[in-house]
């Protein structure tokens, strides 16, 4: 059977998390930002399940189910917000939705 040490599995989860974080920092399209948040949530669940199977506990899988629930609710509300923002601003650019920003501090 398979015998992967826990460190390598956790390194894999951390790599996926950092890919999601980089995407969230770089992209300005709101759909891509939501997708990056999905990658980050998924990698957190991956780390939970890996640690849970390593110590022969079912708690990791229970936590993954809760993360799945949170991600489903977050995606449904987030996509509805994206639809409304697209109808209002006619674009998906996150920089266009900066009505609250102070005009004087924009010029760097």
């Amino acid at each position: 059977m398979i015998s992967i040490p826990l460190e390598i599995q956790l390194m894999f989860a951390g790599m996926l998390f950092l890919i999601g974080l980089t995407g969230l920092l770089v992209r300005r399209n709101v759909i891509f930002m939501l997708m990056s948040i999905e990658i980050m949530l998924n990698s957190a669940g991956l780390a939970f399940v890996m640690a849970g199977t390593h110590w022969m506990k079912t708690d990791g899988q229970a936590m993954f189910i809760f993360i799945l629930t949170v991600s489903a609710a977050e995606v449904s509300v987030g996509l509805a917000l994206i639809l409304q923002a697209f109808h209002h601003y006619k674009t998906l650019d996150a920089d266009a939705m900066s009505k609250l920003k102070d005009k004087k501090t924009i010029q760097l």
Binding site: S3, I4, L18, R27, R28, I39, M56, T58, E74, T91
Partner: protein, 182 residues
């Protein structure tokens, strides 16, 4: 068997990288689905088949279909000038360097662990269900309430604003408007 883990991990990482750096939204979503399927393989071979099935059914089957429906509704095929300017390598340098620094510290912290190798033992859905409905029962109920709030919120936000709520009110409004000039 260890090779399967590394192949699936490589596929997941490469397809995640392609998903966040693609210009076309549909292509990025397809790469993300590929990444989720690879992660599901990893769940399966490391001894949690229930979570692997949930990953395919809920993540790749439900959440990604929501994304695809929204992309189809918004009808955004090709991106604008702004987004392609943001996708130049100059923009990617700083977040990538920060992420690499974080990853290096994480690797250092993990490599100082004591290496423990243990054979995989499968944890089935029955044990997970018993844990969910005994230890985490209140969390299950709270997440049910949160899903209900999510459904109601998504319906309320996604509804198109109508001009007139009811047809009787519409007639009333017309009558009032026609009465005013006369």
């Amino acid at each position: 068997m260890n090779a399967i883990f590394f192949i699936a991990a490589a596929v997941a990482i490469i397809s995640s990288l392609l998903a966040i750096s693609n210009k076309n939204a549909i292509h990025a979503l397809l790469f993300l689905i590929l990444s989720l399927l690879a992660i599901s393989i990893i769940f399966y071979i490391t001894g949690s088949p229930f979570i692997a099935a949930l990953e395919v059914i809920v993540y790749a089957g439900a959440i990604m279909v929501l994304f695809i429906f929204v992309v189809m509704m918004l009808n955004v095929g090709s991106e604008k000038q702004q987004e392609s300017r943001w996708l130049s390598p100059r923009i990617w340098v700083m977040p990538a360097i920060l992420a690499v620094i974080l990853f290096a510290t994480f690797m250092y912290a993990l490599s100082s662990m004591k290496p423990i190798q243990r054979e995989v033992q499968v944890i089935g859905p029955k044990q997970v269900g018993v844990t969910l409905f005994t230890t985490y029962l209140i969390a299950v109920e709270i997440s049910a309430i949160m899903l209900l709030a999510g459904i109601v919120g998504a319906y309320h936000l996604g509804r198109r604003k109508k001009s007139v709520v009811h047809r009787f009110l519409k007639k009333e409004e017309k009558r009032v408007l026609t009465n005013i000039p006369s």
